[in-house]
């Protein structure tokens, strides 16, 4: 069964292979993701994050989810040499962490029901479990940033997370006055990790590092990365090719 919704202004796709997948299971996961959006959206006046930013609630009033996001944000800041930070312009914006975390938690709901073969995707970040309908590893395309209808690589994954950070969302533009063009620009960075939460937080932080980001991924054990620059050249980590079949 495969279903999709738009939540948090983003497309959510879920496919479950196991025969015990029911409509109620999908509903539970979608409703969970809606509740996360209600809590963490910086665009909702009544969200916990907005109330905190406006000084209407204090840290001691935090929900368990909020405490966890703060703890994970701090940990990620430390893990990425400060490249990840949710404090921005004097306000807290955990958007860069919440998406991957929410997908991971949604997948946990399925796992606790004994569901073993599925994927949960929000806007290109995916938690992948077990095998697809043909009993094979899930085939995941890496989108061409120059042509969104195309894939430039296909990786085959099982029990992994994959996430991509890209330029129009969090762009890095360094103008080279000598060649009169944008220089050293990374268009997208895809990270494959042990789960989507891990993949997403490192994709976000390492994309912010520019060309150094892929080197950072190389140094992480259990992570592989695939970077595409503005000239259509990809740079990938030493173990990436193991996912090509």
């Amino acid at each position: 069964m495969k279903e999709n919704r738009t939540i948090m202004g983003m497309p959510v796709n879920i496919e479950i292979i196991d025969s015990n997948a029911t409509e109620e299971v999908f509903e539970e996961v979608f409703n969970y993701l809606i509740s996360i959006d209600e809590r963490f959206s910086i665009y909702k006046k009544t969200s916990e994050i907005t109330l905190f930013n406006e000084g209407k609630i204090l840290e001691k009033d935090f929900s368990n989810d909020m405490k966890e996001i703060f703890r994970l944000s701090l940990q990620t800041k430390n893990d990425t040499d400060g490249f990840f930070d949710i404090i921005y312009s004097g306000k807290i914006d955990p958007s860069g962490l919440v998406k991957g975390w929410a997908i991971y938690k949604a997948a946990e709901i399925l796992r606790k029901k004994g569901i073993k073969n599925f994927y949960v995707e929000i806007a290109g970040d995916i938690e992948i479990a077990g095998f697809n309908s043909e009993g094979k590893k899930w085939a995941i395309g890496i989108r061409n940033p120059f042509n969104k209808k195309e894939n430039v690589k296909i990786v085959y994954l099982s029990d992994k997370g994959i996430a991509t950070s890209g330029t129009y969302e969090r762009g890095e533009h360094i103008y080279n006055p000598k060649e009169k063009k944008v220089a050293n620009e990374v268009l997208s960075l895809t990270v494959i990790g042990p789960n989507v939460y891990e993949a997403d937080r490192f994709a976000t932080a390492c994309f912010a590092m520019g060309r150094k980001g892929i080197e950072f991924v190389e140094r992480l054990s259990d992570f592989e990365g695939y970077m595409i620059d503005h000239e259509g050249i990809t740079t990938f980590t030493s173990g990436f090719e193991k996912y090509l079949k």
Binding site: M8, Y88, D125, G141, Y175
Partner: protein
């Protein structure tokens, strides 16, 4: 200081006879020529009259040309709301064509000023991208916030329209 800068730039014009079509960035030229001009003053030979001896500053008003659909110049687009924050772009038009898009504002959610350790030399591989035709179950790509980008760019290009 300013006159010294101009002097150094004119030295660069002379050096272009060595095949350097693109002048070096002014900052590094300053350092290089500061010593070399003292040691080797005879390199000041301007052989290409079309290279201006005092280059025009890049910020000078662009000449309006009508050979494309846009007027040359720099146009700042509107601030558009992307899911993660604001996007604002500047469109650079040259020869009537869009030649560059600069981001004046884009969503940031981290501090970008920190160094990264380089104790281990990474083993990275490179290749040119190519389209893959095999079927996939799902696709990983950057979130679709480009409508905000498109909105800002459209507003910039509307101003540039001839």
């Amino acid at each position: 200081m300013a006159s010294f800068g101009f002097y150094v730039i004119s030295q660069n014009g002379g050096n272009s006879s060595n095949g350097l079509l693109t002048p070096n960035p002014i900052v590094s030229s300053n350092n290089a020529n500061n010593t070399s001009t003292k040691k080797n003053p005879k390199t000041v030979v301007v052989t290409k009259p079309n290279i201006p001896s005092t280059p025009v500053a890049p910020s000078s008003p662009p000449v309006v040309k009508k050979n494309g659909i846009y007027n040359d110049g720099e146009y700042t687009g509107s601030v558009a709301d992307a899911y993660y924050g604001n996007v604002q772009v500047k469109a650079i038009i040259l020869g009537g064509r869009l030649v560059d898009i600069q981001f004046l504002d884009y969503p940031q959610d981290r501090n970008t000023s920190i160094r990264i350790n380089s104790y281990a030399l990474p083993i990275l591989k490179q290749e040119a991208i190519s389209a893959q035709s095999a079927n996939v179950n799902a696709v990983s790509g950057a979130s679709e916030t480009s409508p905000a980008f498109t909105e800002s760019l459209t507003s910039a290009l509307n101003q540039a329209r001839a």
